[in-house]
Structure formats: structure tokens, C-alpha cells
Symmetry: C2
């Protein structure tokens, strides 16, 4: 049976609420995902939250009921509470009907199986949690394996990332590493490191992509450092028709990834 | 000579600050753009702010000086103030060195010259100002003419939109209309209305695009209404490899637009 919480000062309420904060996510090893749709997608991927919270109305949907039962059967915590307390937990005026607190997965490179896909995203110093979530969502759509975050990126377990990923956080693999860890790992197996750059004449539509591609996306305002570009096996340029000399990082990643997929269409 | 403002309660400070608010933007007909880079891009497009505000350090750059001179020569207002007041105006702790208040352009369909480009974006009920700015930025890169906002979209003159557009707000044309205004306007000239949809077998990579294309992008969570899809001359589908059944609206727009540009590459 779900336990009921009716007090704002309950320690579980405080824990969930704290997960909007990076420090609390790191110390607890948990992160927050909101909404029946995303929680159901997680469940289909075999990811159950350690804790699920809901207001009575939120437990009416058959999928919500099934999820709550499964969380309890797996020894997790199911919490029925008021809409106001749910709102406090989520930090939103109109919270989703369900909240789940999930254990953060292992994001070491050692846990990544590069053979699982022919296309991987690699993000360098991505500072915008929304961009990280959008790249994960794009990765799911384009059939990528996941996203490797290099150096000082925003926290991929931030609420904004989870939301923008629309569930792809549970279908895409995530890894976190420094450049100095990533490069030897990459060179320890097959893989073509592809960067988008203005410093090349290689049109992204004509480039010789070779699976598995590791598509390197640079920081939102600075792009890729020169030393990182120099390590790429292939640099490609998206021609710019207008005044601007760059695209949003998630857009550049998507346009290039879908072009790579196009190249391989008839393999 | 720039006039100096040293009081937080100055009416101009209050006016600029108010431009973060949609109502104030509407009543004043102004909007805010921040930063030397974006203001310089605007100037190169022939758009001068009616008012430019800066702290002394912000006026050191030759491009900033030139801009300030031009604003004054054009009868505009140049305001030198303190970093603290600039911070209050922009609502940010670390404001850009320059702020400009611009007159909103005419966004009626009548002011749009469809012959000016072979590719236009049309956004339906886009609710995220960042998405609108990102689509404008993509439009500049892909050589689109601009963006037509249909029905109840977020305000394209919001600070978040201007920022995400990275200056493309000044290079791309903007129009705002209801669907019932847009459709007769569209059909009053040549133009292929293209929608992205799951309700079609037409792969976006094989579709018969015919210039000028009006690429219709649906609301972030609902996609396009069926009645709007039914009006499209061509529906195309971006195949989804993973679990998700959709892309972020700005990503879908970009992937399709770059594919259209690819089709026309050898024209």
C-alpha cells in the first residue's frame, strides 16, 4: 500500500524537492523525472523509480496504477500526497500527476558498449541543460547509442534535461568523462571522431562518414577548441547561407546526425 | 552627447526594465536586444535602436562607439549609466555591455514579400520563446526568408527569443497572423505548404519539394491539428529510429529545412 504524506515538512518531501539542486542529486545519487508519459517510457526500458509520488487523481490511469504496483513490488516507495505537496516537491504550480525519483545510472566510459550503435554524440562543455536533453531526444529519434559528455558540461540529471529529453534519458546511454579520459578510450577501439567546424572545406553532405561515428558537438558559445578539432578524423562544415556563422549546438548536432543517417540509408 | 542616468528610479530605466514584460512591449511597441554582437548585426541590417544604454566600459569598443554615434545622429537616445543600473534594466546579474531598445517591425502578412526567398518557416502555436529564436537562427543559416507565426504563439519580441535568435531576429522577416488570415494569403500566390507529420508515408528525404516552400511546424506538445495537416500540399515524415515518436519542434524544422536545401542544391 502506498503510504500517505500530508505534511510539507516531511523528510521525503524535502528530499524530493532537493533534487532540483545539483549538490543534492550528487549526494543522494538520485534524479527526478515527471509525468506519466516519461515514467512509462522509463518502465518500458526497465527503469523503475526508487520512489514514486502522486496525488490521488494521478493514480487513476491504468498505467499509473501498474507503475505504482511495480515500484512497490520491487521494494520501492510509493507515496500518496496532496496536489499542494506534489507542487512543492516539483517546484511547479501545475505539477505532473506523477513524480519519480530514479537512481542515477553508471556514467563511466567503461560501462559504454560502443558496439551497441553506429552513431554516438559527444558533447564538449555543453552548458545548457535543455540542449543536452534535446540532443538525447534527437539521439533516440536518429538511432544513436547515446551521449558522452566531455569536460565541464551541465548536469545531465537536471530537471530541465530530463524534461527536454522527453524520456530519451532512459533510452540513450550517458557517459561523463574528461577529454583526457575520452581520447584514449576512443582510440582503444574503432570509431571515427567527426567534428563540425568552420575550419574545413568538407561539406557535411559529401563527407566520408565511417561507422561507428562519434559526432563531437562543441560548447554553445565557443564551439570546439582547436586542439580538439585537431584530434578529429573528419571535420565537416554545414554551409551557412545567411549572416550568422553558427547554429544552435543541438540543431547542428541534429542536422549532421540525420545527414549521416541519410548517407548510410542504403547500406 | 550621451545623457547620464544615475538614478534607479529614472523613468527611462523603468521603461527599459518593463520591456521584459509582454504588455509593456505591446503598449510601447519596443523590444530589448542585448550585447554588442547582436546590436552590431542589427546595425548591419539597417536596424538602429531608438535607445542604447551602456556602462562606461561598454562604450570602449570601436563598434560600440560607432553604434552610439549613429543612434544619436539618427535622433535616438544614448544613455550612459552605471553597471548596477544596467543590471537592473536587463534583469541580469551580469548584463551585456550594451542594451538597445528597438521599435518592433510591422509583422502583418501584407508586409511580407514571398518572392524574397524560396523557403519560409510557419510556426503554429509555438509556446517556447527559445524555440522561436532558434528557428529564426536556423532560418538565417539555411537561407530562409523568415518565420510566420500562426495563432497563439509566444511573443517573438521576448528577451529569450531575441537572445536565442543570436541576431537573426534582424535578418529574418517576422509575420503574425491567425490561420484564417494566413491560408487565403498563402493561396493568393504560389507556395507549397509542407507539414511534418506521422500520418504519411512520404519520407522527408524523397519528397517533391517545390519552391517556394512554406514549412509548417506544429505546437511543441500537440503537433499540427488535423485540419491544418489536411490543408498541406505535402506531408513528410522524418523516420524515427527509437522509442520516441517526435522531435523537438525546432529540431524537426531544421532537419527538414536542411533536407529541402539539399534537394535544391543542384538547381
Amino acid at each position: 500500500m502506498p503510504r500517505e504524506i500530508t505534511s510539507f515538512s516531511n523528510s521525503t518531501v524535502k528530499l524530493i524537492r532537493s533534487l532540483r539542486d545539483k549538490k543534492a542529486r550528487r549526494s543522494s545519487g538520485l534524479f527526478l523525472a515527471e509525468g506519466l508519459r516519461i515514467l512509462t517510457e522509463a518502465r518500458e526500458e526497465g527503469c523503475l523509480p526508487e520512489l514514486v509520488a502522486f496525488a490521488p487523481a494521478g493514480a487513476q490511469h491504468p498505467l499509473a496504477k501498474a507503475l505504482i504496483d511495480e515500484v512497490e513490488a520491487a521494494g520501492g516507495d510509493a507515496i500518496e500526497t496532496t496536489p499542494d505537496i506534489l507542487s512543492k516537491m516539483s517546484g511547479k504550480d501545475n505539477p505532473q500527476a506523477l513524480l519519480g525519483a530514479f537512481r542515477q545510472p553508471d556514467t563511466s566510459l567503461a560501462a559504454l558498449d560502443r558496439a551497441a550503435s553506429d552513431l554516438w554524440f559527444v558533447g564538449e562543455k555543453l552548458r545548457d541543460p535543455g540542449n543536452i536533453g534535446t540532443i538525447l531526444r534527437t539521439g533516440d529519434a536518429v538511432g544513436a547509442g547515446g551521449l558522452i559528455l566531455i569536460d565541464d558540461c551541465a548536469d545531465p540529471f537536471a530537471v530541465e534535461t530530463v524534461r527536454a529529453s522527453m524520456g530519451a534519458l532512459f533510452t540513450q546511454k550517458l557517459a561523463q568523462a574528461s577529454w583526457d579520459e575520452f581520447l584514449p578510450w576512443l582510440r582503444g577501439g574503432i570509431g571515427q571522431l567527426v567534428g563540425t567546424s568552420l575550419q574545413t572545406d568538407h561539406d557535411y553532405r559529401d563527407a566520408p562518414y565511417e561507422a561507428p561515428v562519434f559526432l563531437l558537438v562543441g560548447n554553445e558559445s565557443q564551439g570546439l577548441p582547436e586542439a580538439y578539432e585537431a584530434e578529429c578524423d573528419l571535420l565537416v562544415k554545414i554551409p551557412m547561407a545567411g549572416k550568422a556563422d553558427s547554429l544552435n549546438a543541438a540543431i547542428a548536432a541534429a542536422v549532421t546526425a540525420f545527414e549521416i543517417r541519410r548517407h548510410w540509408r542504403n547500406r
